[in-house]
Symmetry: T
Subunit: 151 residues, 12 copies
């Protein structure tokens, strides 16, 4: 229904390969499976998700600009752009929507350059290290955050 | 029952004041309420939690040493020790148990010195910014992690 | 007329939202209005502008490569790419045209990471902090610079 | 009288040895003498002090949590914890009381690592370098600050 | 007329030599010529400027303190003090007037130590790299800023 | 023949302008000439190359994801993305193919920010400074590396 | 009487505006009032003060050189020179007199560049954050320090 | 006999688990065994040791304050406090006794944050990397140092 | 023949052990084999090489001074001196001959201190990571560079 | 005679106290004596010196601007401004005269902040550590440099 | 006997002057005396030592390469090369023998640049600060380490 | 005569090529000419010099150890070792003789890594930038220093 809460799910570069790329770090669940799980989890809470993946920073920014007005919150795994993209950060701030940042791997136990995120500072919260569960955890938290605010 | 999965819930300095200290940052839920919620959540999954709070780094280390052998996982919000305690990190590693780190506030949108955690690098994963929900999210993730490993 | 001086006006990521995104920082003038104003200002000086906006670093580079040979100067607000894009810097240098960098906000009174620009070091000059006026100021300066060189 | 202003005086690690430890740096006045002097100074202004020393970060945090609600201000010499304890800083902020930081020695003419204090940033003011007088100066300033606010 | 907008034009150390000192960097226009041009530009907009140059940080601070109350805005090229003077920054803030910072050369394509300005962070905006035009651009922008505020 | 070793040759932003852009740094050989030379060199060793250039980080990542499974190795000149793209690094690692990094110019005798490469750390080896020859050197080395591994 | 202890009171740049400049940071007491208070406080202890303010680093150095031989101690609020003047530090050391450094505001809760003082390292002690009281506290401490040494 | 040289042996956090915690780093000898060996080694040289372990920084400081006056030297493995505790450093200096610092593991071949010790700078010497032998080596060296000084 | 191009091949410390030292990093080819291969490769192009290895920085500098005048180019693997020797850099610059730097291992995927080379900044180009092939690649590139210049 | 080489001798802040200020660092020779010695040394070489000291950065800049056109070289001991004054550096460069920098003390064996000079980078040469002799050495070197250039 | 364990004892630059150079730091025992003591200590444990000192980095590397194959372990005091020589580190690693690093002085209580050692990270352990005893302690520890491994 | 003051003149790596290597930086005077000039200058003051050049750090250290006891002072141009050799610094300190450091070029106007010298901190003074004159200036200053000390 049109009044359902709608969450944009944004996957950054290389996340389309989830399940096959470096499975020892990212696990074997595919992105399609993650999206299905998120959809289901949203439906269970009377919400809906709209998932989008791109390897293009620009496409992610375009998408956020176009779709955020029809959504109430944003769940994002910015992939490698986490550490390098001010444009993505600006786009997220520009949506004026709460943002939850998730990562499958624990970015703090990997290379030094992965310890800093341009997104964390403007997010509601961050979840990392739990594989595909990071996404569902992030979605649940975002939906709860949104219903708190609506209260 | 004795074969239930048991999780140590560890709260660091000042977290006993949750609900009253700086509510604009940490919210109004008390630590007792958080512990109850965690207990309930654990029971729902056939597990149990054992919560402990201390303002003493040493007491937290003592507790981890004594109780970890009877537990399968550790959920910890190290409070201010997050950023300063190698002893706590060493104690956590010494338990040889999976650790999940949680924070009520989003440490990445606060002072620079809160952006580094001695615990994150040795944790399974990190959850921050969702208020008391960070705890339940962390517990669920830890229990799932443990049942994966048991599988 | 074909012998008119032609200036490329380049707008980086998120600038298409000028006027609506974070108006307390960027003001309420839209990008279309800015482009009109620039056009008019150019015409008044017997010049012309060709404006282009993209959220894609690659599209900005493509555009610079294709259009710069037909232009005499470049006016650019690189948006978030200001602080992160060596590719854009290289493309600008590659045009062998004078570059003027502008920003609506004063990047020096914002977050630390906005204080460094990859473009400034290879620009003729920089204008920032005057809202949409930064653009017209930059254009005027660029046109004057070009007519000096032609002299 | 119960309506007298009450100030917590907090002494961090090793300050119990004042008067005997490294007298060339810290002087020969004992902590007991300092506490007496502070008491007297408080009484002269119709106030009272409650002094506490501990070598335990945790005990200092415990004490602040328990005693601050019955006090109007805090005078603290955090000793070595000055430079290392976020937990103590958090506890001080948590009291929601004005804090004055004092040091007997001039921390800025000693080792580099003593030049940064986790407390200074959240204190009303700082006094250092005047030996035991730093305490009485700090107390006077705190009492004046409190009576200003009461005005 | 007394109700005209009045702008203080402040030139820092060595700018009295504009036109003769290092012309390959700073151009050949003299400071007197720049001041005339600014005066004319101001008059054209029904405003007036009052120019002052000194090689003395203290004299610049004195001047700002004495003259700012009779002016509505400040146009400043702090010269070498840009990178070293907190006192000048403090004086500018103390005027409670909008400040525009200008430089003839592009400070970002020169030595590393010229990339940081103590003034930029408290200015409305910055213009650099356009030679004497930086001044007129800055003045126009300041006057526009002032008439916006007056609205 | 289908069993020939196949190498992806990837050219990053602005390399399509090789031969015309900044010839004093990059030389006068065009990208088409380089690709021809590489093709010939590959054929001489019973291998084949498939060249791709884009100014879009995302297009490079897309291409690597799609084409790497049909290739045995990757020869890349990441252009300006060398110093800024974690997404490209991740895509390269994700191919699970040996990578050789090449640069026409000697990045170590240019600006400081060009001295760090996100690719070098995950490459087999690096060649830089020899103009177009860097490519053929890199290709030969990659083919030798591949035939070593095939042994 | 001529044998009274004499203290130089030195006020750096912009402190002549105390009471009117940025009152939310520096309070509403004027410099004249502060000097009167100091004079009175000195007289009460059989001492005298000689106050001097300048916005000129050089004038402060001149004054210290000329007046210090007739004084026994120095009370200084170096204003913005605190963070930038080695010449002032050298002049203070050159007097061979004990120095007490004071600041009205708490420099440690302001901008990062205000956290370092060139004076602190060579001062007897430092007082900051208590508004005009910082001066009287500093004076009392200096007089006590002087009478200790005389003892 | 009461005139024997007495050495305090201090073990910091987590060292009570020596022999079981991370044996691949710390070996399999228990703390009790180490203490026995030290006792024996001391007796062989007509000296005695008094061992103490705590996970509490404060307890270690308390102990040093109380016991050091009855001892002539201190052998310490500060555990994780090595890298974080100024309070412990201060307590050690406060004893006015020679200190020898030991570590079972080679802290220089582990994480970067273990390469700095607050104790080393005030110790007579440091021994690390030899497992439990580090203790006996340190004790022997301390006893020799003490008998040298006694001469 | 005496008019043949002559290349100095310089091997720094520890490279005499190539083939036996840490073969998992440096491979199993000996230095003698590398020199033979280089000789042959040179002869094939009508050139000649003169190889020299030393563990002594000074001997390498001596050799460069004495032999470079009789040679047209220098191929060098500076070994551990890569990261530490300004004297070697100076000697190379002093020869006024083009220098090619090679490394068997990929220095960018090893310890942080190996990421900086004092030689790279003054070399024509750099080859690393291809084992003994790095040498032949470097030699070919140097010979081509030399024949280009002669052209 | 009017065609004699003329050298400006510039003494920065606090150097008027040479001979009395901190004699253990700066020696006991007075500035007047140094100036006499320099005069004599100049005359011996058919040159003349014109000495100027000020504690005011601005006065030094004024003096350089006014007097440099009548001189051929500049000998300067910038005192504390060495480490802090870009304005002085700019004034020196603006004279377009060779500059020799001297210091009585060895600035490299003093505090860290004295190891960097804004003047050294634009000077012909630097002399430090030889007390008053640093001046005569610097003068001789400057005169020789000037006669070389005249040659 | 030929089957005895043989330890190379390596002394770096300036250690031949032990006993006379800076005795307040290094003590009065000569290197010959140290070598004798080590020999004796080795014989007592059925081992033998072979000592070598050189001021030449290259000679130390040569010696390690030639002698290490006939030895089972290496005891080294690298002197000033500790902090600067990657070549020596590489040579030590190249021996594939356990290394123990010793220093007479406590390098951590001296200049900052002595706090980092290129050897420590690849050593079994480190001993410093105990004068000549550091050597015997290191030898004993190395012999024990070797007999453990043989066990 | 045997009682003449004797100065060791030490030239580091590459200085044997003075006069031919990079003459635009180092001038055209040869080392032999410099040594002659120094000899003559010494004789004129009743002193003598003994010059030594080596490209070997170790040989310089050997020479200092052997010759310094027969000399009263050391004049050194450490060449490239200036910036990298702790061993040379230690050898100089070990001589217990006053050291004067000289450089032909102005090391402060060259690459960043040449701005730090390991020798300056332990030298009497430093002379740089005056070509071969730096040596004679340094020698004169050293001789004067020595005759001062002799008194």
């Amino acid at each position: 229904m049109s009044t359902a809460i709608r969450v944009l799910v944004i996957h950054g570069p290389n996340l389309n390969l989830l399940g096959s790329r470096e499975p020892e770090i990212y696990g074997t669940t595919t992105l399609a499976e993650i999206n299905s799980t998120l959809e289901e989890a949203a439906v269970n809470r009377g919400a809906e998700v709209s998932a989008f993946q791109s390897n293009h920073e620009g496409a992610l920014v375009d998408h956020l600009q176009q779709e955020a007005p029809q959504a109430q919150g944003i769940l994002i795994n910015p992939g490698g752009l986490t550490h390098t993209s001010v444009a993505l950060r600006d786009a997220l701030v520009g949506t004026d929507r709460p943002v939850v940042e998730v990562h499958c791997s624990n970015i703090f136990s990997r290379e030094e350059f992965r310890h800093h995120s341009y997104v964390s500072g403007i997010a509601v919260g961050v979840v990392c290290g739990f594989g595909p569960r990071s996404y569902t955890m992030g979605l649940e938290a975002l939906l709860s955050h949104l219903s708190d605010s609506r209260g």
